[in-house]
Amino acid sequence: MRNRSEASGKRRLLPRRPMWAPIFILACCAIPGSGQTPCDEESVVFNGQSYAVRLDSNHVKTYGSSWVVNDQLELWTPYDGAWQQLNGTDITTEAIGSANPGATASSAWTSTLSGTGPGSYTDYSYHWFVPNQSCSSDTSTDYLGYTRSAAVAIQQPAISGANAFWWLGSGVLSDGGYYAQAAWSADPNGATGTPTWSVYYYGSGQVSLSCTNCTSTTATSLAASLGCTADIKITVNYGGFTSNPFWVTIAAPAQLVLVSGYPQDKDGNPNDSTGWTSVYEWNLTDTCGYQDPGLDGYELFGQWTQYNGSNWPSAQPEPPASNSASIWNDEMAKGETYGLNPPARPLQNPLTSIQAESAPWTFTVGSLTVGLGLQVGSNTSMYYVDHGRHQ
């Protein structure tokens, strides 16, 4: 007497894998069974099983197998029809495999993950067995049914780390808690081997990597992103299976914005009660439009030009300084020092347009070292006889 899983003890005569057919999901995907042998001198057991396995970082193989146990006269030919499914949906056509009686029939699909992507991969197979025509009775095909493999869950490799950091100018890696570097790590998420890092540019932002065939790398900014957009795409690749894009923004200090209400002019320079003082308050902002506290900075003057026979001694730049805030104070002042020509005056009403001297002026942040950092301000520093202006 043969063993069958079905209670009726009859062979199931099903059309080939109707999609509406009942699906048998077994823990390890096998349907052992038995049927009446057409050649009843012996008992046979029909078997079918599904498998899914990740071959390497970029490939998943799914396959099904059909075979017969105790077919000592080799009267049954096993067939396996296999589909590969991703998240429960067919992503292949049916592959049909058969084998000689006594052997195992298999059919398989191998997907390249870089093409099919992450998800839950399974084999979905149908198993049937065809009797030898020499059998004198019971010549019907035995349809064992469906099996589905355990799922192989595929996740894309991923990148972790800061996706935004600073550009502070050539040679400046940090200043005041601002960093021009970021440490990134690749998470294989089941892939194997050493990843390869790739960088793609979609704007002006640029980075360099400390290594490109490694699990962890240090990125160093080389240029700021265009308009504070995420214009750099980073990926890691394990044997061809690529991570999700890791979009990176490189921000940078950008400009000095005059605080509304300034400049303020007043009589007297800070050291005596003569002359005048003009005060600016500048707010340092970045390419993203936000204020940047805590950076170092320094000013520079270019060649001074004297007007109206002026003998004013040229103003000297303040030394580089560290700031605890984002506001930079700019104080232009002149005392009525004896011998000045033209003489400095207290504030006139209206302010005079008589010029004494001027020079190109720049302001740079990101470093205390003159020559390093990013220029965020550039204009002409103009000294009138009764006030000063950046213009």
């Binding site: 308009g227 921000a251 509304s260 800070p270 040229s314 103003a315 000297q316 104070n329």
Partner: protein, 378 residues
């Protein structure tokens, strides 16, 4: 008095810069307080100079903190980095400090040296102008009070007494005063906000705005919208709204949204500041107001709508000044349900960058809002 190291002049001596450029950085008041061996209120006059240091005579009014043996008599202190370049008679009062100033002093091998409140060669960076008279009663303190509270009391009394107008004190409202973290500062803002002086009202409300008060924001906006011309005080208020107001509650978003959507003929700077803050906050509660900005005739306001909705869609954190060095506001979370390739492609933070593509961005974000407002809860 330690004066021997200075060139005592019988007549005139070179005094600090009569021509200098002047970019300087304020120092943290809390750091100064911790570093100083003494904090005093004193009037000041020039004493002499030696090399790159000037000598200043301080006539002490009171000692806020530190070595009480200083109290009462004059003391000569070194002011490093002030470059004499003119002629000043010893004993000449230092302007602004002549009626009193707050000085941070540190012991040095030669006596006392000034810890300047800002970098640079200007004498005005050495001190904060604090009148030498008695404190306003509201700010009286015990000698046993915490250091930063005592310092805050001195500064707050001076600020309230000055009624605005003194740039050096007004600049404290641009972040430095708040760094003290003292309840005395909150008291100052509360008192000024109810002052009869318009300048004080604006500065007081601005302080409360920086602290996250939406009611102060509404009141300040009313005052600022009626201001006839830009002033130092309205400048502080605009800066406070734009850069420091980051309250994330629904009422705050509504107030900001109302200011930003006020008639274009009104105070443009105020509208811009409110729209900028709204975009920086970009909570779900702010979203309807951000979406409304997309119809504004002012492209800068439109850009804030794009900036805010984009930040929301990308799942970016609320922007704060404290988070700027780490760019916390640009760190994309691993899970952002509304983030799509199209969202990334239609996003920029820079106003200039947004304006360059405004014809593309605005229709995209209008459509995005229509499609996603239900998912966001509107």
């Amino acid at each position: 008095m330690r004066v021997t190291q200075y060139r005592l002049a019988a007549g005139l001596f070179g005094a600090a810069a009569c021509a200098y450029g002047g970019m300087s950085a304020p120092r943290s008041l809390a750091d100064l307080a911790q570093s100083a061996d003494a904090i005093v209120i004193a009037t000041a006059s020039w004493q002499g100079s030696s090399g790159s240091a000037a000598a200043v005579t301080l006539q002490l009014t009171r000692v806020v903190n530190g070595d009480l043996s200083l109290s009462g008599g004059p003391v000569v202190v070194a002011l490093q980095g002030v470059s004499p370049a003119g002629t000043i008679t010893p004993g000449t009062p230092i302007p602004v400090a002549s009626s009193g100033a707050l000085w941070f002093l540190q012991r040095s091998s030669g006596g006392w040296a000034v810890l300047p409140v800002a970098s640079g060669a200007s004498a005005s960076h050495a001190f904060l102008p604090v009148p030498g008279g008695p404190l306003l009663p509201a700010y009286a303190y015990q000698s046993s009070a915490p250091l930063l509270d005592k310092l805050a009391s001195e500064l707050c009394s001076a600020i309230e007494g000055a009624d605005g107008g003194e740039p050096q004190l007004a600049s404290l409202h641009l972040g430095l005063l708040d760094q003290l973290g003292s309840s005395v500062v909150a008291l100052l803002y509360q008192r000024m906000a109810t002052s009869s002086s318009l300048k004080q009202q604006i500065l007081g409300l601005a302080g409360q705005v920086r602290g996250g008060s939406s009611s102060a924001l509404a009141s300040a906006a009313q005052l600022a919208s009626s201001a006839s011309a830009p002033s130092l005080e309205t400048g502080v208020l605009l800066w406070s709204i734009q850069n420091e107001f980051r309250a994330a509650d629904a009422n705050s978003a509504a107030v900001l949204g109302g200011i930003a959507a006020s008639p274009a003929s009104g105070n443009a700077a105020l509208r811009h500041a409110a729209a900028h803050a709204l975009a920086a906050i970009h909570t779900a509660g702010a979203a309807p107001y951000l979406a409304a900005l997309l119809d504004d005739p002012d492209t800068e306001i439109e850009a804030e709508g794009v900036r805010g909705l984009g930040s929301l869609a990308l799942g970016l954190p609320i922007q704060t000044t404290a988070g700027v060095p780490s760019l916390a506001h640009l760190q994309m979370p691993a899970n952002a349900p509304l983030r799509t390739d199209a969202v990334v492609a239609n996003f920029a933070l820079s106003t200039d960058a947004i304006q360059q593509k405004i014809a593309t961005y605005v229709p995209f974000w209008k459509s995005w809002w229509t499609s996603n407002q239900a998912a966001i809860g509107h």
